[in-house]
Amino acid sequence: MNNFSVDLTNCDKEPIHIPGKIQSHGFLIAVDKTDLNITYVSENVSKFLDVTANQLLDKPLASLNQFTLQQDSDFKIEDLLRLGIIKESFDAITPYPLTINSKPFYLIISVSNQNWLLEFEPVTLQYDIQSSIGRSASSMLQGKSVLDLLKGAAVEVKKLIGFDRIMVYKFLDDGHGEVVAEEKEDELESFFGLHYPASDIPKQARELYKLNLTRLIADVNTEDSPIVTYIENTPLDLTNGCLRAVSPIHIQYLKNMGVYSSFSISLVVGDELWGLIACHNYSPKFIDYKAREGSKLIGQILSSALEYRQAEEDAEVVEQFKDAVAIISGHLNRDKYLVDALVNHQRTILDITKATGVAVIFENNLKTLGDVPLEEDIWELASWLKTNSDESIYYTHRLSEIFPPGKKYKEIAAGILSCAISKDFEEIIIWFKPEQLTTVNWAGNPEKPVTFEEGLMSLSPRKSFETWSQVVKKTSEKWYPEEITSVLRIREIIITEINKKASEIRLLNDKLQAAYDELDTFSYTVSHDLRTPLTSIKTYAELLLKNKSIDGNGLKMIQRIILGADKMNLLIKEILHLARVGRSEIVFEKVNMPEIINDIVTEVWTAFKADNAELILGQLHDLKGDKTMIAQVFTNLISNAVKYSSMVEKPKIEISSYIDNNEIIYAICDNGIGIDNRYYDRVFELFKWMDNVKDIDGTGVGLAIVKRIVERHNGRVWFESKLNSGSKFYVALKYR
């Protein structure tokens, strides 16, 4: 009937639901749904009843009654079946206890397309198992974590069925399985933590595991009993049958492991086969129907507990992520600097995923937490992400496969989750997960499922069940949807925060600009308006000087008025200058420095009558800048040099320049009175005079103008000085 030839290339297509055979510890009879005539019989019926299979075929079900199924002569098997049909369920009557040849049996009724399946199997359990199942369930559920729960289940199932080894086997993402809990006889080698390749339990088998929550293979060494029928081309579907014969390939598999009896309980979580409780016995061991049902119940309780606990644990993780996000969000709100908020508190962006390291690239600065690759590697990775990803979120648990340089640091960052904050990927956060399973212990080499025997290719499952270690390289734990959600959440918050800060800064900037403009306008207007009355004062004073009736003393006073007015006028002019530096646009042009310096020197030497001062000119590199303003800078500095060295015996002023690292640096050096270091910071401030220059004319604005002009040219100005031995002022402008 079943001529399907099975080998490892097609075992996932093997029609295991229609094996045409049953396990021979029980027998099977199928009757047609319409007339209740016997359509299929297992050949081994003759071992249990005094009749052969062929004798029963096409007979009414009632004919079974004569084979003394039951001592009680009133019992009619067809009535039992009809009762079930009327009730539309066999739950209440199955298993129905019977006695056959003085031995107790269970009758289990199920449906198979057009037929009713009637399976008979021996009763071996002498006591009522119900109460111990309740106890088992409650002690199992005491496990706090999922792992405790699984271990508890293994322990309880072992108590219930007494098999040598109980394993809880979990299917992982790619279909391969791992033993996540185990309870066994002490002398057995542990399978805990072993991984099994996906092909060990083919797809259609998994479907069956979802339909039949328990599955017993009573003895791998017994001969199966064929099913006989007169119906052609329609093999009996044994999907729901509990005696269904086992695929030869699976029998071989079990034999290879030295297993005589196998029992499995399906764990179905949310419609998916989460895993199995796989039970092995190293000698033949039948499990009574009631004990199997008890195990099934344990499996169902475990399944729902798993669903609940897993959801609970997931929720806990999600809650922790959310907590971290909320806390960071608070920091973002309060902290001045975004990066500080992300990394400098107890809870950081490392806590919003299960990553073990994180790198934040913000405004061209790199900050890291936890285990991260070397800085240069992070920069390289970031620039790779920038060119190769157009999604703001990118993640992989196998970085080095996509980005080969990642091999270097796979131990730290086999997996990455990156999140670009800005569109141009300049601002980016990258989370890292380490290489997760350095070793997977396979139960048998998954790469070599086929063995060769005696020169012939014998297609059978692997014979070797030696642990075969495979080093799974370059792979991290996967990124969970919860982690991605969490990252997206923080991204949103960061972006909002950045936008908020940006507009705050823009606002502040606008205000500053307005204040600055106002101040400039103010100083300009004030200076201007001050000059008019000042001019009047001076002019009247000068007119008074011409008045013959004023005596010598009066004339002296008038002179003082004129001097005062002159000084004030100078001050006002300087302030006007300063204001104008702030107001005018800078037009960058090439400034011929030898020419300008010469002009200034001539002017300054004349103004200060500095004929005795020696001038040494070094190399004078041309500068790029606003010609008028540059001239102003050098006029002020050279004037100062001359002014503050005028009282020494041999004043010496040196002007030179040199190029250093993209800058042209001018030095104006004098051997004058110098500046006390105590005043270093105040030298460039407006209206600051030093103690030692009280007697020298000055406005206190000159150096402020110098500083303002240089800064507007994006340059630097500073000085070195020693009291009573001279000062050296430096002006550095970008060399373009």
């Binding site: 201007h528 000059r531 008019t532 009355p533 001019t535 009047s536 001076k538 002019t539 009247y540 000068e542 007119l543 004129i562 002159d566 006028n569 104008r580």
Partner: protein, 139 residues
């Protein structure tokens, strides 16, 4: 009305006084007419056209209440009768922008108000020498 040699618009009475003094010192015979605000200046300027009286030189203070020196300058340049009359803007401001604007609107010169009386006398001297001698030559 006597033809003014110099028509001067200046709101600052002090400066008007200095100018008067300086002008007399430079050349006593020079006739200086001073008006104190833009509106009055405008009225006078228009009357010049009617009475065919033409000043030899117009001096305008830049910062005036109401009509400014530049406004007056524009008006003068629109009066055909006065088109050939030299106009000098006279201001405390040495802001290049002000200078530029005045020259663009057709000022013949821009003078920064000299600091102090002695400087003012010097300034008036130069103005007189340049504009009046030239004027004579042109005549």
């Amino acid at each position: 009305m006597k033809t003014p040699d110099i028509f001067y618009v200046e709101d600052d009475t002090d400066y008007a006084f200095f100018m008067q003094t300086a002008v007399s010192e430079v050349k006593d015979s020079l006739n200086l007419t001073i008006v104190e605000d833009g509106t009055e200046a405008l009225r006078r300027l228009q009357s010049f056209e009617e009475s065919k009286i033409k000043p030899k030189l117009i001096l305008l203070d830049l910062n005036l209440p109401g009509l400014s020196g530049i406004d007056l300058l524009k008006i003068i340049r629109d009066i055909p009768f006065l088109r050939s009359t030299p106009v000098i803007l006279f201001s405390t401001s040495d802001n290049p922008d002000d200078v530029k604007a005045c020259m663009e609107f057709g000022a013949n010169a821009y003078l920064t108000k000299p600091d102090g009386y002695d400087n003012l006398v010097k300034c008036v001297h130069s103005v007189h020498d340049f504009w009046f001698n030239q004027h004579l030559r042109l005549n």
